[in-house]
Symmetry: C2
Subunit: 370 residues, 2 copies
C-alpha cells in the first residue's frame, strides 16, 4: 500500500472529514495544512524544526526547482526528499500557477506554455508531459496535473480554459508512470457552478487518486470560495482526498474543513513572518509596530510554541527592527505552529463530534463568521 | 560564590590551562570560545540551538544594545538574559572597540568619547562610568572595562593611549558596583613588550577578577600576536582567567590556548556563514563556488553537526544561490559546532596531557604551524 486514503470520521453537522492518507514517506492525518518549501526549504525552518512542529506534509514548487537547481540535478542527488533532508511526504505543484503568476512573459497554446524565467530571463517550455517528467525527477509523493489557472470571474475565458485544462489532465494521466506517486487532478471552473461541476465530473472520469480545487484565493470573495466548496462536496467522491490549493488564512482553513477539504497549503505563515507579522486568533499582530517595543508579553499568552514560551513582543520588535534572521525564524515558528495546532484541534474535534463548537468559537473572532 | 576561577590542569609542554569559571548563570569550562550575539542574538541561531551546540558563554555588544533597543529598556524587560532567553553566562564588551571602528565620527578626550550612531547619525557620549552603567543595566555576568583600542604598531600613540586606558580602568573599577558581575581589565600596549608588561602590571594593581588582552587581531602578524601572549603569560596571575578579545580563526584558537588563553570570542564563524563559507580543518570552503553544485558530500565527512549529518554541499550551494535563510542557519550551525568542538577537544587533551599531539596534528594543516 503506497497510497491509500482512509476516511475515519465525518462530522454530522457539517461536511468536515477526518482521515488518514498513506504515502511512501509516512501517514498524513487529515485535515492537514502543508507549509510551503518553494525552493526546497520551508523558509527559515530546518526539517528538524518542521518535525518538532508536527508538520506531516510539505509542498514544494516545480517551477522554482526546475529553474534552480534543476530537477535532473535533484534526481541525480537522490531526489527531493534526500536533497532537502525532509523525511516525510512531499506534494509538488505542477508549475502552472507560477508560470502564470511569476514568469516575465508567457505564451499559452493548446500544447503547453512558453515562458521566460523570472531569474535570468531565459526561455523555457512546460507541457503536461514536461511537468510530469519534472515531478517524477523530484520524486514527490503527491504530484499535480498541469493546468491553467484563469481569472476566476470571466465566464467565457474560464469555460474555454477548462477545455485546455481537461485535455492537459488526460495527457498528465497518460504521461505519469512513476510508481509510488499519486497524481491528483485539479478542478477548475472559477466561481461558476456549472463549470465547477462539469470540471469535477470530467476529472472523475479519469479516476485520479485525489482531487485538488484550484483557482481559488485569487481575488474572489469568501462567500464565492465557500460556495464553490459546497457545490463540489456532493460531486467529489467521499473516499478520495480533497486539496484546496493555496489557501492558508486561519479562517479559510476552518471554513474549508467545514466544507469537506482535507488538505491545504499556503505561503502565508512563512511570508507573514518575513514581513514581521504574527498570526493570532482573529487576525494578525504587526510586530514592527512601535507599541510592541516595550511589551513584555508573548505574542499569544498560553501559546505553547518555542517563540511564545521564550520571547516577548519587545524582543521580536527589536529583532525585526535590527533585521535579525532570528526574527524570521521565531515568527515563522509561531505562525506554522499556529496553523498546525489549529488543524490538529479541528481533526480531534471531528473525531470527537465537537467540530461545530470549536469552529463556531474560532470564527466568532472573524467578521463574517462561518 | 558568584564568580570564581578554578585552575584544574596546566599542560607541562605549553602554557595551556584547563579550568572552570563559576558565574551566576552557570559554569564555563575553559578554554572556551564564545559565539557573538551582537544585537542580543547570535545571528541565525536560537538559544536552544546554542545550548544543543554546547555553547556555554556568549558575548553581546554594549555599543549596539545601547543604541538599539537601549540598555534601560533591556533592564526594564528583566535584563539581557531574559530579553534574549539565553540561560547561560553572558560577557559584554565595553563599547570602546565599536565606538572606534563603527561610529561615523568620534572625538576622544581624557574623560571619554563623543560619537555618532552608525544607525541614525545621532550624537552620544561614552565615558568609563557610562559604559559600566550600561553593562550594569544589561546584567551580563562578565563586564569589560572601557578602553581605547589604538593601532597596534604606532609606539608613541600606543604609549600615550595606555595612560588614558589605565585611567579609565581605574574609573571603571570605582564605578562598578553591581553584585554578581565580574569586571575584567583590558591589557593594551600594541605589539610592544614593555608597554604590554607595563599595562598588565598596572592592571594587576587594581586586582581585577580576570584580564582581557585587547588590541590584537587588528592587523598585526600571527608571530606578533603569539609574542604578546608569550610575554604576558608569566606576568598575568595563574589563578585568574585570561580572555583574548576578538580572535576566532581556528589556528589562532589553538595557538592562543597553547599560550595560556582561557576565553576567546569572535564574529568569524557567524560572519563566514553569512558569506557562504564553511570552516574546515586547514581553511574554509566557499560553498558559493560552482564546483559544489553537484557535490553530494557533506561539508566535512564524519562531522557530527546537524548540517553535515543531513545535507550535501550541493544543497548548501543551492540555498546560498537562492538566498535562502536556511543556508545561513546551516552554515552558522556547522561553523559554531566546528569551533566549539575544537575547544572541547583541546580541553580534554589538556586534562589528559595530550595537547601537544592534538595541537601539532591540527596546526600541521596550516601554514606557519605552531
Amino acid at each position: 500500500m503506497s497510497f491509500e486514503f482512509e476516511l475515519m470520521a465525518t462530522d454530522p453537522h457539517s461536511q468536515a472529514r477526518a482521515g488518514r492518507l498513506h504515502t511512501p514517506h509516512g501517514i498524513i492525518e487529515t485535515p492537514v495544512f502543508a507549509p510551503v518549501g518553494t525552493q526546497a526549504t520551508v523558509k527559515a525552518l530546518r526539517p528538524a524544526d518542521l518535525v518538532a512542529l508536527g508538520a506531516s506534509l510539505i509542498l514544494s514548487n516545480t517551477y522554482h526547482l526546475y529553474l534552480r537547481p534543476g530537477d535532473e540535478r535533484i534526481r541525480d542527488l537522490g531526489g527531493l526528499h534526500q536533497f532537502m533532508a525532509w523525511p516525510g511526504p512531499i506534494l509538488t505543484d505542477s508549475g502552472g500557477f507560477q508560470v502564470f503568476s511569476l514568469s516575465a512573459t508567457r505564451k499559452v497554446d493548446a500544447d503547453g506554455v512558453t515562458f521566460q524565467s523570472h531569474i535570468d530571463g531565459s526561455y523555457h517550455r512546460f507541457t503536461p508531459e514536461k511537468s510530469i517528467a519534472i515531478q517524477e525527477n523530484l520524486g514527490s509523493d503527491i504530484v499535480m496535473a498541469f493546468d491553467e489557472c484563469p481569472p476566476p470571474t470571466d465566464y467565457d475565458y474560464v469555460k474555454q480554459s477548462l477545455v485546455r485544462t481537461h485535455a492537459w489532465a488526460e495527457r498528465c494521466r497518460v504521461a505519469h508512470t512513476r510508481p509510488g506517486q499519486a497524481l491528483f487532478g485539479i478542478v477548475q471552473g472559477g466561481i461558476f457552478r456549472d463549470l465547477r461541476e462539469a470540471s469535477a465530473q470530467f476529472l472523475l472520469g479519469l479516476d485520479f487518486p485525489g482531487y485538488a480545487i484550484g483557482g481559488l484565493a485569487v481575488g474572489e470573495s469568501k462567500a464565492q470560495m465557500h460556495a464553490v466548496l459546497e457545490w463540489l462536496h456532493p460531486v467529489l467522491p467521499a473516499g478520495k482526498p480533497r486539496y484546496l490549493m493555496g489557501v492558508g488564512a486561519a479562517e479559510d482553513l476552518v471554513n474549508g474543513v467545514l466544507r469537506g477539504v482535507d488538505i491545504f497549503d499556503c505561503v502565508l505563515p512563512t511570508r507573514l513572518a518575513r514581513h514581521g507579522s504574527a498570526m493570532i486568533t482573529g487576525g494578525r499582530l504587526n510586530l514592527r509596530n512601535a507599541r510592541f517595543a516595550t511589551d513584555p508579553a508573548p505574542i499569544t499568552a498560553g501559546c505553547a510554541c518555542y517563540t511564545c514560551t521564550h520571547f516577548s513582543r519587545a524582543y521580536l520588535n527589536h529583532l525585526i527592527k535590527a533585521k535579525e534572521i532570528l526574527g524570521h525564524i521565531l515568527l515563522t515558528t509561531h505562525n506554522v505552529h499556529f496553523l498546525l495546532t489549529l488543524m490538529r484541534q479541528m481533526r480531534q474535534a471531528i473525531l470527537a463530534g465537537e467540530l461545530p463548537a470549536l469552529a463556531g468559537a474560532f470564527l466568532a473572532h472573524y467578521e463574517g463568521g462561518a
